[in-house]
Subunit: 338 residues, 2 copies
């Protein structure tokens, strides 16, 4: 179950995400082969568009979690590879639909697919990948895995609708925000981790532990993402900054800033968020307010707490390289902001 020596050596300078990628590289070759095979279609626009998204790659964080969870639960089988590919397909489908909804420009450092092939193609190829994800799950023969991932899929859609319904609403509060990110992001992280024990010989406690790990990691991940939207640099992130601001998406940094706003700041937030009247200097001012009143730090502190919960969940497993890399990953998800 430990990583081979030659991998260990090259891991020393790698961050935990890179370490995980190296440790899972042989499994991920199989996963990628399934992804390429199953996104194929005689209708040429489908593989063209899917490949645009898949080739950009991203971190493949969710299928990596499925593979790591499989290793924590014993032998890794072709069912785990199929589930990992299914998880990536569901994620890709939601990205394609999100890009239409958010009207964003960049995804994984590339032009978003709908800017090239149009919104209609992005909607339909998303549907195609989603259906193919279920085909893959069926092949594993696990109704429990199908249940976990179909439930996660409906929860993701619920979270996205709730986010839509609260756009530009400056009365958005922390509870609703946590529901939204728990649904739109953490549910798939949790499912990605939970499906592996289902087709392994893990016990119920271990399955629950992996689900909790994924849920908490997902919350930490999204909190940091939402902070980065006000603090990162476009090139480093591979996505635009200020998207949430421009769309009037009330994320935790802004919710906290509004809680602590003086009259002048309140007028500002109402204008830029509720009325969506923004000029060129407003984003800079927003960042400056969030920094000054500690809203970004508070967001990161909360992320750190969830990362800690994620790590604690793994205590039911023996100490080994897979548990260690998942624990380090939880810290890294937060500390990547620096």
């Amino acid at each position: 179950m430990n990583a081979p020596a030659h991998i260990k050596k090259s891991q020393q300078s790698a961050n935990p995400a890179e370490q995980l990628t190296m440790m899972a590289s042989s499994d991920m070759q199989d996963v990628n082969a399934i992804i390429l095979e199953r996104m194929d279609s005689p209708v040429g626009m489908i593989p063209d568009l899917a490949q645009h998204l898949v080739e950009a790659g991203g971190k493949r964080l969710r299928p990596l979690l499925t593979i790591a969870s499989a290793h924590l639960c014993g032998d890794v089988t072709s069912s785990h590879h199929k589930l990992a590919a299914a998880v990536e397909f569901i994620h890709s489908a939601t990205l394609l639909h999100d890009d239409v909804i958010d009207d964003s420009d960049l995804r994984r450092g590339r032009k978003v697919a709908n800017r090239i092939w149009g919104n209609s193609a992005s909607i339909l190829v998303g549907d195609f990948l989603f259906a193919r994800a279920f085909n893959l799950m069926v092949e594993t023969g696990s109704l429990e895995a199908l249940n976990i991932l179909s439930t996660a899929s409906s929860v993701i859609a619920e979270g996205e609708v709730q986010q839509l319904a609260t756009l530009r609403n400056i009365h958005m509060n922390e509870d609703i925000y946590m529901q939204v990110i728990g649904a739109k992001t953490a549910a798939l992280f949790a499912a990605a981790c939970e499906v592996s024990p289902v087709v392994s010989s893990c016990n119920q406690d271990q399955q629950e532990a992996l689900k909790n790990y994924g849920q908490n990691l997902g919350l930490a991940f999204q909190l940091v993402d939402d902070a980065l939207d006000y603090g990162g640099f476009e090139a480093a992130l591979g996505k635009s900054v200020g998207d949430d601001f421009r769309e009037g998406k009330l994320t935790l940094p802004v919710i906290r800033a509004i809680e602590n706003a003086d009259d002048d700041e309140m007028t500002f937030w109402k204008r830029v968020m509720s009325d969506q009247k923004q000029d060129d200097t407003d984003f800079e001012r927003a960042v400056s307010i969030l920094r000054q009143n500690g809203a970004l730090d508070a967001t990161i502190d909360m992320a750190r707490k969830f990362a800690q919960d994620a790590k604690s969940s793994l205590s039911v497993f023996d100490n080994n390289d897979w548990r260690m890399v998942l624990e380090e990953l939880a810290d890294y998800v937060v500390e990547r902001i620096n």
Copy 2:
């Protein structure tokens, strides 16, 4: 397996679709209860939007096919009701996405959902219903039913993408057209019929027969729909006429007309279809050409042939009221044009 006497009486003046609705009314009450229960969500926009679509009702043709197929195969169970609801959810999800893609105004005689709640909500609620469909299927415990409906779902998306890729292409031919309607429409009709025997005690021949019935009925249905887009009246159809024309969607009537076009007509089709330059009188001219050169009649003739194939498929079943109503339905799907 025969319909009760009181229903038989009221059937005498009813068309086959109405007859089927009456015969299946007790089952459809259960199906509708499942639909209402499962489209619910604490996120209010979801039931609001889903209800707008579901209340408009439509003919509920696809779940009716699932119920009728179940009756042909013996006892009808709660699994059949769940599968029928899942089929309707998949259909509703594709309608929500189609309306965004086609930019249509009316659906089932009502304003389309995206004109009220916006494109983003329609995309996401479609995703939600699709995920809920899979939840329902999981509850039946049938991996085969899951396989049939997930495969149908990916085929539908393929058909829709292929249709998108051939928009405004006057070199579109009959083979590609048949592939498109086989995928975007007939695949779900086929799956709606095929899933019932899977959770019944039907044999392989009967399962295959129901699949063929659904496939051929779906082809007939879409051919007539495409003819009606050039010949019906908005009020009677509950949807706009001329949609395909305005979108540059090359359906069989136009493909046939282009095959037989003189130079003058060819110039017309190129302008209105490829170049999408249309004025107020062009739709009328298109209808007049299609009528004159027999393209609409040829389309209906082909639909009649598929309806005949649908009916023939059912010969493996004993003669009873359910077989009879499905046979009559096949004729009715074509003759409703008059």
